[in-house]
Amino acid sequence: MATEEQASGGLQIHPMDQFIVKPLFGGDAVAWYTPTNVTLWMAVAVLAMTALLVLGTSRRAIVPSRSQSVAELLYGFVYNMVEDVTGREGAKFFPYVMTLFMFIFVSNMVGLIPMSFTTTSHIAVTATLALLVFGTVTVVGFVRKGPAFLAMFWISSAPLALRPVLALIEVISYFVRPLSHSIRLGGNLMAGHAVIKVFAGFAGAMGVASVVPIAAIAAIYGLELLVAAVQAYVFTILTCVYLRDAVGEAHH
């Protein structure tokens, strides 16, 4: 991303320009069916994920190849996470959680390729994922537990006088979940990519001294690799924590 010099003539940095959704084949109008750069990079993410998981494990060798062992590692990692957090009953949701994890992880990683587009930095994308999780948890909770699902908001271990107040707080925090769930992922990704662009702008404006911001970009890039993985992990584990409310035993 350092190659794209934003700063020409003074210090004009436009770190948010990289998040503009553009149609792939010219024009400006974006309808719901227009192939845009978001469509392209989501397709790239899905293809990369399919290639890794389906083609990687298609041979099912006893001595795994490199791609097979990576795929098995990811599978085992997510499966253990789901089972640890949500219990045996929650392991039925493993396919959903695995899909979420792989999509977010691969999208984050693909977004780190210079000149590419980070689909998960858009609140629209992350909010869709978070609202799906929210809807799943609510529907599954009511289907499995019936009205007893509402007991989640009525904390029976607290003193009786405090319970209505706590119930109010719990209800608010329940409905804020999709907001914080989506903004955490989108905001982290957006912040990291904007920081890289700001430093790239410095590099364009500083002449010989631009070695310093370029070195900083390399360091931040390393940090962003970590953030990409950690945020995918965090999104997934919070999904598991929310699913535990719906399928697991009451944990209060």
């Binding site: 948010m16 996470m81 640890d84 957090v85 914080s180 903004i183 955490r184 905001g187 982290n188 957006m190 912040a191 904007a194 950690v230 992990y233 965090v234 584990i237 919070l238 924590v241």
Partner: protein
Amino acid sequence: MTGDIAEMGKFIGAGLAAFGLGGAGIGVGNIVANFLAGALRNPSAAPGQTANLFVGIAFAEALGIFSFLIALLLMFAV
């Protein structure tokens, strides 16, 4: 002239909103410090708690990200 003042207010507001990130930094540091203190006292229990560690970090960090978002909105959307 009034446009200049509005512009100035945007930048000042964005700068003030960035203070929130300091709070998130303190929070995340606190969580990791306490996790490490606990983990060094009882290393055998530490691996089972990494999930809680990351969930705690995520919750603390989300509030900082909210303030960062406010700063971005002030800078680019208002």
